[in-house]
Every structure is written in structure tokens, then in C-alpha cells.
């Protein structure tokens, strides 16, 4: 069976992980967003000043709302950073159960939680290890992207987007290298917990030497449809909400945004689901001596 088919079946076997991960992400986002709603709702709902926001992203209105709550802004920034840290730690915790489930190609709650707890510090160490690598990759991508003219499609306003997208795409291609390395290290942890430290790094690089390009290709294969979905959502959201300019338009936009967010989670897990059997197969064919 082809690796893509294997991956799809693995993903379907572990599909409960998609809502779990997406739900965690949504919960952490709402914990930040809901207090903001409470803060502004009374002023906004009963005033006609903010009414145009229902149909357009008028920054004048957002700016005015921020001005009226300026005392709260620093607190919100601190809270946001705190939630980012919580989300990071939550992801490192979930990584253990997540990668174990995809390696086993099945999920069981007690095993998931046990592995999450067991592998937490390992995944935390991998993230810390990957940080300078990401920084280096972003730097390299940034340098290469400067070959692209910034004014690819124009100079002012929307016309200047083409060049910016092009440069982000070049940087993104380098970041994907980091993603592939990170996934490999984590899959190695899930399959060979006893091989730690630089041995893990060396054996992961051995795998990437043989399968790295293919893994990169798999990531792109799953990323591109997501990008199409994301673009469609953005365009639709602006057009529909702008056209309706009422509660229904906002509801549709909310649904589209969340669909996009869920799709992102699904895309990320689909890659892991595909990479896990490939990695396991490689390890099976390349046993290591203790």
C-alpha cells in the first residue's frame, strides 16, 4: 500500500485526535477572547458607532475601542503571552500521546494520557533543541527571499501583496525543513525511547538522509490544499460578511474561520499520520544495535 494511503488510514484510525487538538486550540483562544467580549460588549452593542464593523474591517472603530480600553491593553498583552506559553506546554504534553497513537496506528485514552505524561520532558527538550535551528532556517530563507523583488506585483496598498507573499513563501520553504526534522525527532522518541540525546539526533538524520526529500514532499502535498482552503475562506469571509453586514454574515464568517482552523489542525496531523508508518518501516528495515 502506498505511504499516502497508509497515512490516510492511520489518520482515520486516529481521527479523534483532530477534534481533541483543535478543541484545545479553540479553548485556549476563547479563554483569551471571551474576556475581551465581556469588556466591550456593553459599550459596542448599544452604540451605533461600531455598527459598520458588522460589514467591514474599519480600523478606525477598532482603534477607538482600543483607545477607550487603553488601560487594559498592557494586561491583555501579558495575558496573550501567558496563553502562548500555556499552549506551548499543552502541545508538548499532548505530543507524547499524539505521536505514540500514530506510531501504534490506534488511539486509546489511557495509553494516550500515559504516554503524554511519560514523554513530556523529551518533547520539551526537542522543542528547545529545534529553536536555534528554526532561527537559522528563517534567517537563511530571509536572505534568499531578498532575491525576489518586493514590488513583484505593485507598490502601494493591495498591489504590493504579491512580493510579500513571494518572500514569505521562500522563508516558508526553509521552515518546512525544520518541521520535517522536528517530526522525525519526535517519531524517533515515540519508537525508540531508550535511544536519547545525540544518538537520537544521529539516527534521525540517518533517516532524513534517505527519506528526507520524500518527507518534505509529503508535507507540501498536505500543505498546499490547506493553503487553498485558507485563501478561499479569507476571500469568502470578507465578501459574505461585507455583503450581508449583519448577524448572519458574522455567523457564516465565524464558521468559515473555525473550519479553516480545524483544517489546519487536520493538515498537521495528516502529515504526522503519514510520516509515522514511513519512519516505522525504515526502523524495521534498519535495526540498530544497542
Amino acid at each position: 500500500m502506498s505511504p499516502l494511503k497508509n497515512g490516510w488510514q492511520n489518520w482515520r484510525a486516529n481521527i479523534v485526535l483532530v477534534p481533541v487538538l483543535y478543541g484545545t486550540k479553540l479553548l485556549l483562544a476563547l479563554l483569551f477572547a471571551l474576556p475581551i467580549l465581556v469588556l466591550i460588549s456593553k459599550d459596542v452593542q448599544f452604540s451605533s458607532y461600531a455598527a459598520p464593523l458588522a460589514g467591514s474591517w474599519d480600523m478606525d472603530i477598532i482603534g477607538e475601542l482600543v483607545r477607550t480600553q487603553v488601560g487594559v491593553a498592557p494586561t491583555l498583552v501579558v495575558v496573550l503571552f501567558s496563553f502562548m506559553l500555556i499552549a506551548f506546554l499543552a502541545k508538548q504534553f499532548l505530543n507524547g500521546g499524539l505521536y505514540d497513537s500514530f506510531v501504534r496506528e490506534r488511539v486509546s485514552l489511557p495509553v494516550f494520557m500515559a504516554e503524554s505524561a511519560r514523554q513530556f520532558t523529551s518533547h520539551l527538550k526537542i522543542s528547545i533543541f529545534m529553536l536555534p535551528i528554526y532561527v537559522l532556517l528563517i534567517f537563511m530563507g530571509g536572505q534568499l527571499s531578498r532575491l525576489l523583488p518586493l514590488s513583484l506585483t505593485g507598490h502601494f496598498g493591495q498591489a504590493g501583496t504579491g512580493g510579500a507573499i513571494g518572500r514569505v513563501a521562500v522563508v516558508g520553504m526553509f521552515v518546512i525543513i525544520g518541521v520535517v526534522i522536528s517530526e522525525t525527532l519526535r517519531l524517533h522518541r515515540a519508537t525508540r525511547p531508550e535511544r536519547a540525546g545525540w544518538i537520537r539526533v544521529r539516527e534521525s538524520l540517518d533517516f532524513l538522509r534517505i527519506r528526507g526529500v520524500r518527507m518534505y514532499g509529503y508535507y507540501l502535498f498536505f500543505l498546499l490544499p490547506f493553503l487553498v482552503i485558507w485563501l478561499a475562506v479569507e476571500i469568502l469571509a470578507v465578501k459574505i460578511t461585507g455583503g450581508l453586514a449583519n448577524g448572519l454574515g458574522i455567523l457564516i464568517e465565524l464558521f468559515l474561520f473555525q473550519m479553516c482552523s480545524c483544517a489546519r489542525t487536520g493538515q498537521s496531523l495528516l502529515f504526522t499520520a503519514t510520516a509515522a508508518p514511513v519512519f516505522r518501516s525504515y526502523q524495521h528495515n534498519n535495526p540498530v544495535t544497542p
Partner: protein, 598 residues
Amino acid sequence: MARLKTAWPELLILGLGLLVNSSVAKERVRAVAQLDDSSRTITGHVSMVVADVSPNLSALHFRLYPNRFCDSTPISDSPCGLVVDSLFVNGANRIGEATISATDMSIPITYEGLTDRELAIESYFTLSLPRNRDRFGYLDGIYSLEAWLPVLAPREDTGWLVIDYTNPTVEPVGDPVDFDVSLTVPSNLQVMAPGLVDSLTHDSLTTYHLVLQDAAHLPVVITRGFSADTRLTDSIAHTVFFRPESDYAIDSIQAWIEFTLNFMNDHVLRYPKNELVLVVGALAQGGGLEHPQMIWISDLFPVSPLYSPRMVVVHEVIHEWFYYLVNSNQAADPWLDEAVTEYFTLRVLTAMTAGKGELLNYYGMTASYDLQHRIATDRLFAYARLDQPADSIGERDLFPTIYAKGAELMATLTAQMGQREDQFWQTWTQQHLYRRPPAESFYALAESFVRGDQVGRVKTLLTTLNRPDYSVARIANDSLSNEGTTADSSVESSPAYRSTVRLAIANAIPFPVELRFVYADGSVVDTVAALPSGTYAVSRTADQKLVGAHIDPSYLIRIDDNFVNNSLYLDPVNSADQRILSIVTYLVESLYSVLWGI
């Protein structure tokens, strides 16, 4: 692009203006100067005749503006700034009696020494250019010369205006004179300046003959490798000089200039000059600089989602009216040109962008230029008075105070003029054409154009340190009996409800404010009331329930601290808060996705 429109009202006003101004004697400054490109110095001499000398004259003061930049590293070993080597007054060399204090040079003079009431002044000077490319200096192959000639300092009836230009927030002030200058440069350089009459090349040197009238100084840029694009708007030739890398922006820049010229011609006064020059890249720092019939702007960012070059070009073109035609004192009253110009910048941008006045328009996300003002002003509204002299404002506070707060105050003021606003600006400009008006004359003229009758209210508004806050605090409806009988037994209906609106006003401006009452059947009642600070209960009776109330419904009071509380409805009238919840949630989720891959 030429406009086919009769301009007789503007010609009449201009003619009247010239008649009023013709009695003012205007000096003529002749100068011959030469640039030495290797030592980065300019040597030359200036001659001028001061007619009708006042018997009270005890000294002559000269503006040595380039000395302001003496802190910058001089390029050559020659002395920094503008050095006057000799100064002849009616044939006698008086340089030994000169006293130099930073950017001012003075020599004593007595009326008894004069055989007639005319002074012939001739000076020989050496100008050393510092490493600088903002207002004055040489950097990266570009000479930027602002107010570079040693001319007389400006003077009023009360005496000389001796201004210390070493403060970076002070811009040059001068009396309008006629310049007739011959400037010689190496032939591999090009001179960009208004008033170019002709040029003559001989022996690898080119002499440019420049004639500029009614100008406080003669601006010049000298460089190489610039192209020129000239277009015509209503008989005004506007030329943009640019390097090849800015070629992409020229059509846009010319369109912005054309729009602004047409707007100002329509709403203020027809520009009486037939030339305007703009140089892209004359400044090293971001932004623009205004001069008589010339504008300098910095190199453009290659791409920007903000339309900031448009804002800069529009702003600087408007300065041709408020700074050049109305030659206000930029040192004592910087707000008279900058606040007014910034206000008109918003008006022009609003007209240019179909009512949005946008600084940003990016895939449905918009932000107006006015938002920038409101945010910039918050920090210092309570302590920065608009009418401060330039040297009492720090560089960091200059834009928020004079530009941003000034524009907001101007918008609030002119909203009180209604349909008469254009007439106010036309009168202001015509009355002070090429003159230096005091701030009090602005207050006095505006008083006659605003509604209401409280004396001194214009100055009170423009110098306020308190943001007003007009808010609707509460709405209540009480049911009334709605039937009664008359003597002939017919049924007469009376209003069904007494509605009470509680208004809260803090730091009220001294002008009436509009009120709007919205009823359940959709009908709207507008009224105007003069309300000082305090809380008020406004009662109205009607057949319908009052469902909403606005104070200042059109947001004419631009300095209002909070627009959100200007209106209140009994029931929710929008779902904007839900949309904010939706986008904040999505943005935070996206942040997690990008950073942590989930």
C-alpha cells in the same frame, strides 16, 4: 491636465489681494554664486536694496540659517556654515562691526548716517556644506540647500524677528522677496529649483539663472542622474525630478499633485504661480519638506500597504497655500501652517478616496488618516497647547501637538462654520497673501464665521488642554395618558410617552452641539443645543417610544474623547462585538498554529 473652467471669482479676489499688497515695498535679492564640488563649498555675493528705511532702525540683522547645521560633520576643513567675508552697506565695509550669534548676524546702523532712506547692501560669503541631507548639506551625491543665502532677517513694524534656528523644530522664517540668482556648478551636475529661466554652459561649468518672486528663500537641489516629468494642471506646470528607481511612482505622484492643486484651487484660492517643483529623494529621512514653489520628499519605500507617500505629497502641496501664500511665522506660530495644512490633508485625502480619507485600504481592512491623529494626540493632549512657539516643543512632541492635535482642533472648529468654511479659507488667504499674519487675526476672522455668539470661543477651543466627552448615559420612556375630551365631546389624542435622555458632558467646547432622537417608528428628530459641561435630563413627549439618542451624531467634535458613547439605544443595534470575538479567536488560533504547529 488643464481644466476648462472660468476662474473669475478667484481672479477678482487675487486682484483685490494684489491691490492691498501693492503698497508693501518688496526687496529684490540678486546673487551670484559658484559651487566647488571638490571642497563642497559655495562662494558668492549677494546684493540687495532696502528701500524706505525706518528712522527707528538701529541695526541690520541677517539670517545665517546654514549655521544651524554646524554640529554636523563638515566635509571640508573650511569653517562650518555660512561665513560672511565682507559686508558693504552703502559702499562701506562694515564686517568688522558684525556680531554673530548662532544663526543671526547684526551690525549697528543709525539713521543719521544715511543720505537717503535707502540702503544698498552687498555681502561676500563662503558656505561650507555639512554631511547632511535633510534641510541643508551634502550627502550621497545630493546637495540640499534651504535658505542658504545671507539675506536680511524678517521684520515687523515692531522690529526685527531674530530667530534662533539651532533648535531643530524651528523652520526658516522670512519676508517675501524677489530672488534673481546666478548659480554656477560643474556641468556634470544638474540644478533643480523653481524659477529656472535659462542655463549656459561654458568650460565644463554651467550657470543657472533662477528668478523666484515673493519667496522667503530660494530652495535648490544639486545632484546628477535625475530625470524630470512635467505636467500641466490649470496652467500650473508641476515637475517631478526622480531617480530611475522611483520611476514606478511618478504617475501616482503627478496624479496626487494634480488632485491637490485642483482641490485647493476650488476651495481656497487659485494658486497664483505657474510652477511647482518636486524632488523625490532630496531628503534622507522619511517625510517631506515644503519650500516656496518647491517640495522635497524622501526616497519612497519600494512597497507599502500604507499610502504614506500620498499623504506626504498632498501635505506638502497644500503648504504652498499655508506657509507660502500665507507666509505665517513658522517659529512663533507653527500651527498656523502645519495644523491647517494637516487638516486640509485629511480633507483632500477624503475627497480623493471617496469619503474614506484612507491611509490604509488592504483587502477590506481600512484605516483613515484621522485615526493616526487621534492615537498620536492621546499621549499629550492634556499638556501640549497648540499655540506654542516651535522652540518650546520637543522633536518627539512636534507631530502629535502641532500636526495631529492641530488638525483635530481645526476639524472641530471648521465644523462650526458649516457651508461658510470655504469662504473663511478664501478670506483668510486673500487677506494675508504673502503676509505674515499674527495668530490673533486667525481667531478674529474665525469668530465671524462660526455659529453661536460667545466671544473668544475660537481661541478657547484651539488652545484647550481638555478633551471633551459628550455621552448619552441613559434613556427612559414613561407612558402618558393618551385620551382626553373637549367641550364638544370630540376625542383629542395627546402624546403617549414622555422620554427622558440623560446626557453627560465633560469639558464642553464653547459651541452648540447637535442632538438626535430616534423613535420606534423610525422617525428622527434633530436639534441643536448650547450645553456647557454637566449632566442634563432632556425630556420630550411623543406618540412613539424613544429607542435611541445621539449627541453629536455626525462626530463633528473631532476631539471628543470617546465616540462610542455618543449614542445609546435601548436594544442592541449591532453585532460588532460578536465579530470582534470571532476575529480575535481566529487570530489567536492562527498564532498558535504558526508557532506551535497545531
